[in-house]
Structure formats: structure tokens, C-alpha cells
Subunit: 352 residues, 4 copies
């Protein structure tokens, strides 16, 4: 009953098998092999247009290099105050960009609202060098609170950005889960909606290490081969990331894996809700369930093998009420590897 | 007949098998799982003392974070002028350290000589802030020219470093090959000889992605978990690097793989030498053969499937003579995956 | 009627005269001359203990190098959300530190409260590398809202910092004004109250360019000569900053200049308050008056030669009420060069 | 008899007087005052075209921000191996650019030769990311060895740079001395010869602190207001730098000051040469004399009040011969403040 994080899951069998098959061959290093080239083309197929694509070791690196790509000296990037880049990257963005600042804005379920962004942007005066200048907007899809932006919501933010000539970055650590939730295509969710640069994560959804930076804007792409190399993120055996992505993207495996994870989250939320011993904080859209539980139940669930994290609740409107009722917010994450048995057993444990 | 680089080889079967076995399980992310802990202990076994150990995605990252660990503001690190960190990392060291400078020194076969280092160090005056200050020495083992430092040579450099309180870094992208060549133990070649911090590469020698930073000096280790994370090099599924290292280090697999590669290099050098159509630039100690060939032979070898790079020769004493004779320097790299057949066929092609 | 900023004032006559006298002589560059040494000793006299002292070109540089001195990789410095370092340095802190983050906290009149700081610090978990680690606390004295910390308030914050081994930085762009307001000695306001490092500004209070970084903690001081040089802040003719500081500190000139400025601010606040056409936002403690005025009055005052800035009011409790009443917040800054005539004329203009 | 450096001289009387006059007035901060605008126009007059101009605190800062302006990720800037930026800035360039590397090339009297630069540039392969990419060329005028590039020599280097689309930076710490030596106009020596960006130093030639970055290429200028601010180099009382430059540039004062310094250097070289106790290392073109002296004479000259530095001689062709003859290289720098009496007395001391 592992609900700590989707990165606690292992590797999907199809991907593991592809790696094993590819392991024994010689091939050109640093991205020049046949599979690297096939996957390059595959990304363009998936996104229905020519894209630039760069593998890196982690989502942290993808985000930091994406923000590097939009940065200028004195730059400020707007994001949600709870955004992963703002609170969970140990300063990687500030470090790898050479000092770009992140400005966190409030918003329900970790979503940015166009009017909040527009209002903040109106506070910058190009003549006032002291305050710096906005250089981009970053959103997380699905968000850190498990919510999903609709295509229309992404477009609305992109319009605010475009009005000021600012690029829009999407942190897609759980991009597949968001796609499945919205039934949008990769193209609709990204460049067609105004996204300029995407951190495309596959590690959480069944790969062992497969993170790509996907760029829809040629101006932003031109320096990334250099920024990636000097950040130490150009794999010599790059082709083994390609091998993972080839299996991942082939025949829609990635969407099936995500659909399974999302389905497990829905089943979990339903079960918990029915149990009357848990309050769902927000109906899950992707593969994360946030739920209020009693401390005794938390202890008991862990004692019976449940694995999950307690979570900060400051941004939930009913936090005060729930805390008064003695409840604690908990995050439960499902993955491609979560089984219905895991879910049902966990729910049964809650009930008893 | 792949001699382009050892990173063109795939994955050793034992390592591939271990990855496949481990793929299907849940485990704690970010280095907290059982295999992570086993491998942590295994590194201490291999080095015969407690060490701090950090995985990163590439040798570039290992080197840059190692130099970060020794850096101070205004710092200068001495290395060979042809050192990988000085010419082949796209500025990663300067970038990730926030401006530490590398000063390249001359030396035969890319080896630093203690007296050259001592002389350079004597030129720094602590009272002269403009010139900066030396903060460390970095050597490559085996070197970029395929040579290997003996334990005594490492110790001699370490003594120069210690006299000024400077740490000694070893770039061990081909550490196993150097160990096998010298028959020294990992401990003898590193901390017993005065090495403070080691970039321990396993990717070139049979892993698909396994690079570790090994620290023998607690003061240098304390910040690395932070510098690694903010450089985007903390893998979420860190355990799959651990799985590779566990198979790699178990029962001496790594040394057998390297011994094979070194043996193939020796066989290749012998064959080429006997052919009378190639001049060995220096007797190979590890798994790299540098050889002078005629341009016509180079073309012909490639036409028959040989893969290798032409190499800069500026630092070879007989470069002028060889160029006059119409010869070109070529690098041939063997690996765990090189077979005697590959070698013999290549030599046969040279002869014919 | 110049109330735009104290850095619109020129140079105090005593300081100008000292510069003129010193101009014609040869002397050692980079801080090695006789006057540099005299001023070094003078700083220790002023602070009643041995201090390390470094001149830089601007308050921005002093703050950035101070935060550099306390920084560690992954570091976060707590400050007020309206702190100058957080909003008005164009990212200098993030840039020159190589990625240290600032976390802005709320607090009345731009003052940090010990309990708010302690609460924020409790949210950091040393085992959770993703979140980074707190490395220091920074306060502004006098604050950006014109308030002044008492010695007891500084000490209370220092105790919170010391509990976690964190250094305390004071941005003293208006240090003299704060000293005069509290009647504390320089020693009482700084190291005796637990301040580790001080940005000691003199430019706003009558010098043309004289900013010093004063360090009370030897561990923090050791790298600053290197960080200053590599930031381009080691003046070759450093002695002309020394000449300014010698005149500034001699016989208490600096405190007389600040006392004058503070007195003018009080006179201005009194006059405005009596006028019944202005609402004082907070009783001035230093040399800044924040006042609510009607837009028509603002226009009229400017038309009659008044110079001042409108100011963001988001952090004033009565902002909503004042805005509803059609009033706008305005900042008026006095200086050593402000005369009673300027003040009285401005007040008269308000009245009429 | 002060020949240690031109930055040991004080302030020219005309400049001191202008500062005194300007000291007592209110004016807009951060470069917005009337004198700031006058000086902005004055720079365009001096250079016979519209230029962008930015004051900073030191030559180190001017050089670092200039190199920042030309930098791109993975960038390498070519310069002379003895260039000030390469050996005497404590890593400021690498730090403030976020990791741009400097590659030092050999050349007589610290001058770069076009063919050496072209040869080095030919070694970069845009497809080989590991090696980085060239992003600019930097020369020092007058050089660190006291030599001066002719306009034709600058143009020849600019052509090599332009062939690859690389900007050319000139470190003009002693720009005025070079102009006087060549009788070229500021325009001829810079943009007309292909210089894109100039560090224009005035501190060594009679100001107390006046360093400007002058940009002839709009693309390079656009970010500098941001990079300057975040480096802490935007003076609040910027106008006092303007005041210095106004007096400096007015009626050719700067060229008269430099002509005097150069004349004193020539007089010094002539006198030393005639003494038969000193060997001139190279005929001075600007205001620096490099001369071989016997250690006994060095001691004796210092005992009688001479102030100067011994200098590294590794790059002088006759160094071995001179050392064998027991001679030591010495640098003697003249300035606007050097008198004929100083020179003659020093020469007399050498003779006796």
C-alpha cells in the first residue's frame, strides 16, 4: 500500500524490457545514435509539429534549464507560491540561472489565475531597474495540489503572458496524468494553448530516469545544448533515455499508464469518501488524493503497511476548521504500479 | 570494430540483469531504499574506510561538484592543460562553482609533475588579492592520453598539495582501468595516497549511467548533498544507480571488465606495432591506444567499418616529425565489450 | 523642497573639504595608505571592538556581499517581504551569492517579529534537502517604512537566530538615523545586540560614495576580501572613501547630520499633521515620513516645486480605508541638507 | 619618486575643483540629473556617434560587465595570457558572467596577433558542445606590457572577429595613454576600427573614481543596465562620476593629462637608457617603462625613496640572458602627477 509518491514505483515492464534488449549494443554516444534520432522524430509526432528536445537527469534540471532559457539579467519569473520550483528545488532555479528570482503568487489548488498574474505584472515598471523585470510565467500541470488546468485555463494565462511578450513554461512532472484527465492532446495542451517550453516528465509514470525538456519556440531552444552540457546533464549513453522514451510513447503506453494511475486515485478517493472516516480535500483530477484523516487513523494505517506523507495545509480554505476537528492533511499518490488490491486494502484499513 | 570511445559500448550483462530484476518493485525515492543503503556500505568496503558517496548523472557533474567542494571565492584549481575539466566540459566547472578558475599546466602524457605544480603554486601571494588563490589540484586517472599515475606519483602530488593545505581531486572517469594497470587497491590509489575526493566513473566500464562522487574528507563532503540537489543531480529513482553499482562492484566484476578492456588495448597495440603500418605514440597503460597512422590507412579502416577519432597531437614530442612523415594521430579506445575478434580484424585491416 | 530621497542630497561641506584636501597626494592603492589604516582603526573605535571593514561602491553591493558571507549552498535568508534586498536590488543578492534565496515574511512597518521568524524557521527540516536550509536573517535599520528597531527588538531577533546558529545581518542604509532615533551606541545596536554583519551606509547621510561592510564575526569576514574583489568592488583609490569616512565619523559629524535629518522629519510630520490636510501613516522615527494625501494636493505640491514619490500601500492596515477616502500614500525623505525653510514652505503649500 | 602605479596618483586639480563645486546641490539620483545627461551627450561627442554609456566602480567591473555583454552559455573569450582580465581580476569575469571562460594566448608585449587568434578559433567546432564556443575577443589598450596597438592592428583583429560574428572588447584602463601615443581619435581607435565595447578608464589618469563602459553595438548594450544594477554598480549619486568625466573630457583635459604621463615615461626611459645602468626592456609607448636593473640598484633606489614594483619577466625573450646577467625586471609607471623633477631625481639616483 505504497502511496508515498509515484517516484517510489519501479519501472513499467515494457520499458524494462526495451532497456534490456538495447543494452548489449554499441552505438554513438551523446545523442547521435539511431534510437536517439528515432525518438527525436517521435517527439515531433507526439506534439504534431517540429520540436526541440533535450534529455536531462531530473525534473529539477528540466525546470531549471527551462527557466534559464527564458531568463534575462534582473529577471523575475512568476509562479504559484507553492510551485515545486519555488519551494522544492533547493534553489536550483536561482543557481542554474545565475540569479533569476521566482515570485510566488497565491491561487487555489496551486493554480495561477490570469487576473492575479496580470495584476502582478502591472507592478513592474521597465524604467525602474531596481525592481527587476518579468521574464516568464511558470505553471505546474498537474499542480502540486493535484489539480489540472484545462486547455482554456492554460490559454488564458498564455494570453496574459503574450501581451507582455513573456514565454510560458509548463512543469509537466505529471504531464501524462493531466492529459488523461483533460482528454486533450499533447499539442492542444501545450503549444496550441500558448506554452513555449515544457518539462516533460516520464520518470514518475513508469520510466526509471526519463526527463525531457521540450521547446516549441526556436529562440528559446538555441542555447539549451550549451546550458545542458555545462550543467552536467548531457548523458554519454543518452540512447538509454531514448530507449525508455521510445517504449513509453509507443502505441500510447504512457497514456495507458497514466490513465491507470488516475483511475486508481479516483477509486481511492471514492473509497475513502464512502468510509466516512476521511474528508477529501479536493476531488482528484490526476493521480494525487489529498485527504483529511484523524491522527489515530494515520498511525493505524501506517502500522498496517500504508506509506504516505502528511502535507502542509496552509493553502486550504477549510484548514482551520479541519484542524479544529483534529484532522491532518495527508497526500496519497497512485501510479502505474498501484493495484486495485492496494487501494481496496487501504480503504478497508481506513474503515476498520 | 568500435574504438571511438568506451561510452559507445552498451551495458554489461550482469548489470543489465540486475536492473531488470529490480525494476518491478516499490522503494523509497531519493536514496532512502534498502539497496541504496547496501551500496553505501559497499563503497566503504571497497575503499576500506568510511566514505561519503553521491551519485550524479555524468562525469561532468561529478567533476564540477568535486571542484565546487574544494572551491572558495577567488579560487584557482591547478590541472593539466589538456585535462577534461579544462577543455571538454563546456565550462561546467566555472559555471557550477560560480567562477572558480582552472589553470592548465604542461606535462607529458597529460600527467602533472609535482615540481611543475609546486612552481606554479609559488607564484600565488596570499596578500595579492588580484591574482586569486589556489584552492585545489585536480588530476585525471587514467589521463586523457591514456597514461596512468603510479601510487607513488599520486602521493608525490598529494604532498605538494598538503604543504599548502590544498585538497587533491582525482577525475576517475577510467578509474577501474587505472587500478587494473597499477594493481593498486582502491584505497591505495586514493585516500592512502592523499586523494581527498574522487569522481568515480562506472558508465564507461559497463554501466548505462553510474557516476559517483566519493569523498574521503568530511569537511569537503558536508555541502555536497545541497550542491548536488541544486544542480539537479539528485535522482528520484536513485536506487537504479545503486542497483548498477551493486552489480558492478560485486565479486570484482568492475575490475574484470576493466582488465578485459586493458587487455584488448594491449593486444591492439601489439598488433598495430607488429604491422609496421602504425607507430604507437605511447605504450597503452589503460584502455586507450594512441597511434600514428597514414591518412590513406585511416580512410581505408573506416571504409571497412572501423570507428575511431583523429586526435590533437600538439602535446606529443614527436608530433612535428610524424606530421612531416605524413602521419596523423588517432585514438583507439577499447572497452569491456571489445572482443579479440574486433581487435584482430582491425589489425588485419591495417596490415592489408 | 526636495523630499524624493536622501540620496538626492549632495555632500556635506566637511566631507567635501576633506576630499579636496586629500586629492593632490600620492598614496598606496587598494587600501594600503595611511588614511586607509587610520580609518580602519577609527571603525574599531566607533564600534568599541576590533571589526573587519570593507568598502564597496553601493548599498546593493554591501548587502549582496553580506548575504554572500552568510550563504551556503541551498541557502535561504529570511527577511521582510518589503525588504530592500527582496524587492529593490534587481536580483543582486541571488546573483552575487550564486543562488541564495530570500524568503519574505510579513510584519508591521517592515519590521520582522521574532515569533514570525521562529515559526518560519520551524518549517525547515535538515533532512529534507529539497526545501533548502536557512542560513541567515536580515533586517533593515531603519526599515523601509521608516520604523526603527529598538536594541531590545534586535536582541530578540538575534536570539531566534542564535538558537539555530544563524547569523544576523543588518542593512544599515540609514544606520545613523536609527542610532539617533534610539540613542543607542553603534556597539549597542550591533554586536552587543547580536548583529554579526552590518551594511553601514554613509552615502545617504552626506557622503558622495561611502558604503562599508562591517563584520563582527571573524568566520564571516575571512572570504570577503575575495568576494569583494571578484565582484569588482575593490576601489584602486580606496583612500578617497577612507577620506570621506574619516570626516564623517570624526567628532560625531555623522550623528549630527542624522539628527538634523530626523529633526526635519519630525518637524515635517508635525506640520503636516497640524495642517489637517494630511494623515500621517506612522509617526516617523528616522528621516522618512509616510503620509496620506489627496491626489489634488499631490499635484499642487509638485506644481509648486515639491519633489517626492508616491508609495505602495499594500502593507498598511488602513490602506483600504484611506483609498476609499480618496487618499494616496506618499513618502517624504529628509536629509542632512534639508532646511527648516524647505519643510515650512512645503507645509505651507499643503495648508494652502 | 612614485612609479608604483598610476593609481597611486591623486586627483587632477580641475577634477577636484569640479567635484567641490557640485557637492552642495540636490539632484536626481541614479543617473537622472542634468549633469548625467550632459555627460551622456558628451560621450557621444567624444566618440563622434551615439554610444551607450554606463558608469561602474572599477575597471574590474567594467571588464566583467563587458565580457558579460558578449557572453553566451558555454562561451570562451580569447585574450592574451597575461591580460589583466585573465590574471589580475580574481575571477571576476568568470564569476559575474556565470562561467564564461577566458583562454589566454601568447603574443609579444601582451599583444594578440590576428593569426594566433584565427588559429585558435579554427579549433572550435560548433558541433562539439564539450569544447564550448568562442563568444568574443578581448584586447588591452595600452597592453599590460606598456605596448600600444595601432589602429591598423586593432582593425586586423576586428576582421578576424567579424569573420566569425564575434564582438571585440577593448580594456582601456589606459585608453587615453594609448590615444596620445597613436594620435588616433577616440572614434578611430574604437568603433571605426571594429571595437564593439570599451572599458574606458579615467581613474588612473586623474579622476578619483571614474570608470565607464562604452558600447558601440546596440545589441550588446540592451542588458547592461540590468547586469550593472545586479552587480551592485549603479551609483545612487552617479552624478559625481558624471562631474568627474565632465571635467575630464572638457577641452581635452584627459588627453593633456595622458600626454604629460607619456612624456614623463619617455623622459624616464631616455634617462635610464643613457645611464648605462639599466636596460630598457621595450621602448615605452604609453606611460609604463619596463626596465632591467641590478638588485643592488633596486635596493638603493628604494632606500632613496623610489617606489615601484618588480615584475614577472617570463614573457620577455631576453629574460634568460638578463637573469644570467643578474638583472631583474622592474615596472615604472608615470602619471599626470609625475613631475620632471621626480623623473630626473630618479635617474640621477640610478646613475650614482
Amino acid at each position: 500500500m505504497q502511496f508515498a509518491s509515484d517516484n517510489w514505483a519501479g519501472v513499467a515492464p515494457e520499458i524494462s524490457e526495451a532497456l534490456t534488449k538495447a543494452g548489449g549494443q554499441f552505438a554513438e554516444a551523446y545523442g547521435g545514435s539511431a534510437v536517439d534520432q528515432r525518438v527525436d522524430a517521435l517527439f515531433s509526432d507526439v506534439f504534431e509539429r517540429s520540436v526541440s528536445m533535450f534529455f536531462v537527469a531530473t525534473g529539477t534540471a528540466a525546470n531549471a534549464l527551462a527557466i534559464s532559457a527564458v531568463s534575462k539579467p534582473g529577471g523575475v519569473v512568476l509562479c504559484h507560491e507553492e510551485a515545486h520550483i519555488n519551494v522544492d528545488e533547493c534553489g536550483a532555479i536561482e543557481h542554474l540561472t545565475g540569479g533569476t528570482r521566482l515570485r510566488g503568487l497565491p491561487g487555489k489548488l496551486c493554480k495561477l489565475a490570469p487576473e492575479v498574474v496580470a495584476d502582478e505584472l502591472s507592478g513592474f515598471d521597465p524604467a525602474f531597474v531596481h525592481g527587476g523585470r518579468p521574464v516568464g510565467i511558470s505553471i505546474t500541470q498537474a499542480t502540486e495540489a493535484g489539480a489540472v488546468y484545462s486547455v482554456a485555463e492554460v490559454r488564458a494565462l498564455a494570453e496574459v503572458a503574450e501581451n507582455l511578450g513573456l514565454p510560458l513554461h509548463m512543469d509537466g512532472a505529471r504531464f501524462a496524468n493531466a492529459l488523461v484527465a483533460t482528454e486533450a492532446s499533447p499539442a492542444e495542451m501545450t503549444w496550441k494553448a500558448g506554452v513555449d517550453i515544457l518539462s516533460f516528465g516520464a520518470t514518475k509514470n513508469g520510466c526509471w530516469c526519463a526527463e525531457a525538456l521540450v521547446v516549441f519556440n526556436d529562440d528559446l531552444a538555441s542555447d539549451i545544448r550549451w546550458t545542458r552540457k555545462r550543467a552536467g546533464h548531457l548523458f554519454s549513453k543518452n540512447r538509454f533515455v531514448s530507449v525508455q522514451f521510445e517504449a513509453y510513447l509507443k502505441d500510447g503506453l504512457w497514456l495507458r499508464l497514466a490513465a491507470h494511475a488516475n483511475g486508481m486515485a479516483a477509486r481511492l478517493a471514492d473509497g475513502l469518501s464512502d468510509s466516512n472516516r476521511a474528508q477529501i480535500a479536493a476531488r482528484p483530477q490526476g493521480n494525487e488524493v489529498f485527504v483529511w484523516l484523524a491522527p489515530d487513523d494515520i498511525r493505524s494505517l501506517r502500522a498496517r503497511g500504508g506509506s504516505f506523507y502528511e502535507w502542509p495545509d496552509a493553502h486550504y480554505e477549510d484548514a482551520t476548521e479541519m484542524r479544529s476537528a483534529g484532522l491532518q492533511l495527508v497526500r496519497l499518490v497512485t501510479s502505474f504500479a498501484t493495484t486495485a488490491d492496494h487501494v481496496d486494502q487501504f480503504v478497508a484499513n481506513v474503515r476498520s
